[in-house]
């Protein structure tokens, strides 16, 4: 493990309690939950308990929970499933310009294969969806509105209560990708974001990779994207990944109501890093000071690029990212920063630091020092 891991928006360590809850299902309790014999029934019982447990944590009904292979599949199921359930009477989908690729991907597929019109709602300079523009984009043709709860790259929280009200008034289903919310902030007073569909991704809150859930509030129309066996009430076939489902429910119980990384814990080191970075020449802060994830500090560095900066940081023992880990591998400017008004040069030099519950003030200071060194080094090249 590298010295300082500041990439908790990409993934988080599996909590020991979560692994402990999973272990029986990686060992003796190996049954297929659909089998009717005792080994199968034990597995079925575990999946049922996990579903009830998660429903209790989230404040929804067990029947509203559909387990998936992760956040990406949940987003795909929500976007394709809800849009196609309302198609062809409705053939438009409304998204914010800062959604994750797991939402943009299926939305583009809707456009390509079903002729949907995508209405991309702009965001302001802080990355927050412009509500007037959102209201104007929603029409009787809207099959789905998909707006995330919190942005993965800069941390901006979206005004989901207002989005929910707009959708309710127009009788349009609202999908809220809450992958980055859970584990960092408690459930909001409105509950599950006032959304018809909510994406949950376990490995963002110390649960295992390869499992997520889509919450589908009762009365929401949804077409499955996978067809096969009768698992998950016919909406998500395939032998259940029992150990991972149990792990998801355990992690949710531990870290959703009382986030693993509470705001009072996260704010001091994040503030420390913000402060230190703000004083560096050429550094621009993009994470809003308010209504933003408490753990996320995103900056751009003039005259440099993300890959160079990240390589330098890695050598200095700091794990950070250029935004969505799902988009790396090529130097693509951040679509989030572009939507916030950044130039292409700026959007190509994003570095995101995302703290976890165990990040100390010292580590924040060390990260700031490393960034300063890397910027100096890059400047000298």
């Amino acid at each position: 493990m590298a010295a300082i891991y500041l990439d908790h928006n990409a993934s988080t360590p599996l909590a020991p309690e979560v692994l402990a809850s999973m272990r029986p299902f990686l060992e003796k309790e190996f049954g297929n939950p659909s089998s009717i014999h005792r080994i199968g029934r034990a597995a079925r019982g575990a999946v049922d308990s996990a579903r009830e447990d998660l429903a209790g944590t989230l404040g929804c009904q067990p029947e509203e929970i559909f387990f998936t292979s992760g956040g990406t599949e949940s987003c795909n199921l929500a976007v394709l499933g809800a849009a196609l359930a309302n198609w062809p009477q409705r053939n438009e989908v409304v998204l914010s310009a800062v959604e994750h690729p797991a939402v943009f991907g299926p939305a583009r597929l809707l456009a390509k294969h079903w002729g949907f019109r995508l209405r991309i709602c702009p965001v302001d300079a802080e990355g927050r969806v412009v509500l007037d523009r959102l209201a104007a984009a929603i029409s009787p043709k809207t099959a789905l509105v998909s707006i995330m709860a919190a942005n993965n790259e800069v941390g901006t929280l979206q005004p989901f209560t207002e989005v929910s009200n707009l959708c309710a008034a127009a009788d349009v289903p609202f999908h809220c990708d809450a992958s980055q919310w859970f584990g960092k902030l408690p459930l909001p007073p409105i509950g599950l974001f006032g959304a018809a569909l909510v994406t949950v991704c376990a490995h963002k809150f110390c649960g295992p990779k390869g499992v997520g859930a889509l919450i589908v509030r009762s009365g929401t129309k949804l077409e499955p994207i996978l067809t096969g066996g009768s698992q998950e009430a016919d909406r998500r076939p395939g032998t259940e990944n029992v150990a991972a489902i149990v792990g998801l429910a355990t992690a949710a119980r531990l870290f959703i109501k009382h986030p693993m990384a509470s705001t009072p814990v996260l704010t001091p080191p994040a503030a420390k890093l913000r402060e230190s970075l703000a004083s560096l020449p050429g550094v621009r802060l993009w994470s809003p000071a308010d209504q933003s994830l408490p753990n996320t500090v995103a900056v751009t560095v003039a005259g440099s690029d993300s890959l160079t900066l990240l390589a330098g940081l890695d050598l200095a023992g700091v794990c950070a990212s250029s935004g969505s880990a799902c988009s790396v591998g090529s130097l693509v400017p951040s679509h989030v920063l572009l939507a916030m008004g950044a130039t292409r040069e700026e959007a190509s030099s994003l570095v995101r630091f995302s703290f976890g519950h165990d990040t100390s003030l010292d580590e924040a200071a060390a990260a700031a020092a490393a960034v300063a060194d890397v910027i100096k080094m890059v400047g000298n090249v």
Partner: protein, 376 residues
């Protein structure tokens, strides 16, 4: 407890679990990260990809990891149909797994045309039927290698050659074959092939789709660039490692597996057929997986027999676990013997590499006792 339901799922091999644990504990990064702690995991995934490729005689670049066989089957069917809008016809069989049949029905509702080939009383296809079914607008033939309920083997070499000759894509659901039979795709011209880890002592929740180099492909799950743009979503590193190790174990054991398991299966089958009256084998006696035995007990409802066996400590099934929630009789046995009650009165025994002769002998006795009770 005697577990004879290995076609539903298998216990994770201890070596597989041990290989997975480091990736659940200390090596938990996101492989798409640029820093070494995460990026190193890309190499780990490539090792597993190589292990899976070696198991089936493929090139690593032809392996796409999925969340399991259902996703892999769905992906193959969608990819083949998206390849050429002029070709909207799928040929499949009446005995496919529900993840293929349901997907075909869903596609049929949208815009595809589907031909479902019948099977004979022994569960076999007529190749002439397949030849006749293929037409100019056929996009894909999807036929399984080995049937999950009866173990009956389709002649995949001849099907593959026929599809190749007719210029039609061939998807093979090989979930029940991989790990039980040698699979060498260098000599078998399939375009897509599905496998699932938990059928050969790997973990639940991971599988793979083989996509032959040059075969058309469209992703089913869209998002990040993972799997070279063919399957979005943060890679499930631990499960992928588990699949890789399970594949390597299966490759090393596949030769001995067949010999060992066949002897036990035959002992079980002969024990039941010879000592319990009004019993009948479902499926071709020879062209079959070495581990599977599907037997009709006339006058005995499947559910009742399975319940008594479960109480006696024997885990078996009445067919596909994926359809166990439904009250429908087995679509596989019904397709073979439409006129009889066989599909409601059968039990599938599927053995594993750790099954013992003592377990087999005990099972024969317990089945005989249970059938006697139920027949009054």
């Amino acid at each position: 407890m005697i577990y004879l339901d290995h076609n539903a799922t298998t216990p994770i091999a201890p070596a597989v679990r041990e290989a997975m644990l480091p990736y659940l504990v200390e090596k938990w990064g996101n492989p798409s990260s640029s820093y070494r702690f995460g990026a190193k995991l890309k190499g780990v995934i490539e090792v597993a990809r190589g292990q899976v490729a070696d198991l089936i005689g493929a090139s690593p670049r032809e392996i796409v990891f999925t969340s399991g066989a259902t996703e892999a089957n769905n992906t193959a069917l969608h990819a083949a149909l998206r390849a050429n809008p002029a070709r909207r016809h799928i040929v499949t069989s009446a005995v496919e797994h529900s993840s293929v049949l349901s997907c075909c029905r869903a596609l049929e509702c949208d815009w595809a045309r589907v031909t479902v080939l019948p099977v004979d009383r022994e569960g076999l296809l007529k190749l002439a039927d397949l030849e006749n079914a293929i037409s100019d607008d056929t996009a894909l033939v999807s036929l399984m290698w080995a049937n999950n309920e009866t173990g009956v083997l389709f002649p995949v070499e001849r099907i593959a050659e026929l599809c190749r000759a007719r210029g039609v894509l061939f998807h093979c659901d090989a979930v029940q074959a991989v790990g039980k039979l040698p699979v060498d795709l260098r000599r078998l011209p399939v375009d897509f092939l599905t496998l699932s880890a938990h059928k050969f002592h790997g973990p639940n929740g991971v599988g793979a789709l083989f996509v032959r180099r040059g075969a058309p492909f469209t992703p089913l799950i869209h998002g990040g660039h993972q799997e070279r743009g063919r399957r979005g979503g943060t890679e499930n590193v631990a499960l992928i490692v588990g699949l890789g190790v399970a594949a390597e174990l299966a490759r090393n054991r596949v030769a001995e597996y067949a010999a060992k398991v066949r002897t036990l299966r035959d002992a079980l089958e002969q024990g039941i057929l010879a000592t319990i009256s009004d019993t009948e084998l479902n499926g071709h006696p020879e062209l079959r997986l070495p581990n599977t035995s599907n037997i009709t007990f006339r006058g005995v409802e499947s559910e009742a027999l399975l319940l008594l066996l479960d109480q006696a400590g024997v885990c078996a099934s009445s067919g596909s676990a994926c359809l166990a929630d439904s009250d429908e009789p087995s679509h596989v046995v019904r397709a073979m013997k439409p006129e009889s009650a066989a599909s409601r009165q059968m039990v599938r025994f599927s053995l594993g590499r750790d099954t013992t002769i003592l377990q087999v002998d005990t099972t024969v006795r317990l089945v005989r006792e249970a059938v006697t009770v139920l027949r009054g």
